[in-house]
Symmetry: C2
Subunit: 218 residues, 2 copies
């Protein structure tokens, strides 16, 4: 394997694990068995290498989203929601059976770091990778609630679902120690996906049943 490929491979792991700023070029090169100058020669600098990694992550998310949306087709919205959540949670499972299909956890780890300590690439990532997913989920929730996608109830329910998915996907040291038997195995993960769908469907139906008003009885 070429030096370039080794660098990309190592950088993917490291950047995802510790974020752009907390990874040094020297660490990367040592881990990749390359010279310090290699990163500048092949990628024009540290940011160039990071751009390469982020580009791969964005592509992975986008193609995975499109595949998921296409596979869902025009099936009932409840099933499409389940596929959405299930696909999201499956990405955190380290033991993906199909390697080429396994959009690994590193993608979401990278996103989590980027969301907390944004690099100049953050806006582009948001538009390319995340927004399509959000828009799809929002349309889906709107359909489930029989409301317009701009309805505030739709926004809030979308947010509630997204929050639950993110809680599984994003790395979080405290969650790991606060919730027993974490991280979940693939069977528990499937059960968790079922839970999120059932839980959220009940919430959606409850929210759709009543008009958007301010509950003042507490």
């Amino acid at each position: 394997m070429t030096t370039r490929d080794r660098l990309v491979r190592v950088a993917t792991k490291q950047f995802a694990a510790h974020g752009y700023r907390n990874v040094s070029v020297r660490d990367l090169c040592r881990a990749a068995g390359a010279n310090v100058a290699a990163v500048n020669y092949h990628f024009g600098g540290k940011l160039g290498l990071y751009r390469e990694v982020v580009g791969a992550a964005v592509d992975a998310i986008r193609t995975s989203s499109e595949r998921m949306i296409f596979a869902a087709g025009d099936r009932p919205p409840v099933e499409r929601l389940h596929r959405y959540v299930s696909a999201y949670l499956r990405t955190v499972a380290r033991n993906g059976r199909a390697p080429d299909r396994a959009r690994a956890a590193w993608v979401h780890q990278l996103m989590a770091h980027e969301s907390m300590e944004p690099t100049p690439l953050a806006p582009w990532i948001a538009e390319q990778a995340l927004m399509p997913r959000i828009r799809y989920l929002r349309a889906l929730v709107a359909e489930l609630m029989d409301a317009r996608p701009t309805d505030r109830r739709v926004h809030r329910c979308t947010l509630s679902i997204q929050a639950q998915c993110l809680f599984y996907a994003a790395p979080n040291k405290f969650r790991d120690s606060a919730f027993p038997s974490w991280p979940p195995g693939s069977a528990e993960l499937a059960a968790a996906a079922d839970h999120i769908v059932e839980f959220s469907l009940a919430g959606i139906r409850h929210s759709a049943a009543r008009p958007a008003r301010r509950a003042a009885r507490y």
Copy 2:
């Protein structure tokens, strides 16, 4: 104000905003109008200053939790849940009316950074600040579901609620751009708290109504 106090004040803001590693002693001292050696003189080093800040954050969370739990008393569980969520979301509101009572957003920003890039203080923070809250919420959910706190359905519902609260509390660049009109004003925040409670209550009741089984119909 003494140099020591100015340093703590500046460090609180900076560490919360950028995390321990991404803040330099020189930046802190420049912002505080102090000499570079001041932080070593007063705190024995950068980590000592960070310990001071984290200690204040942990105290703030713990006392706020205890006050919230005490104020809830033995009121109906539904109302206690609303107080829990409401108190959580109120911490992200920058325009807290009562300054002394305002457990500001910086506490959660600090926690978010610590959860992604843990320092040696992470385990202590988890046990002192976070676990009491989680245990309280878990017991509350168990009561609402009429189940034991060790029930997996209780765990999952607790996680769903916590995820929604965290989504509001933790800083997240992508969320800010993906969801319109963010961050929410205090009125929208109260409405969001109502939504989370209603949404989650529906989910909890749905989850409690059926035994913990694996739904295999998707």
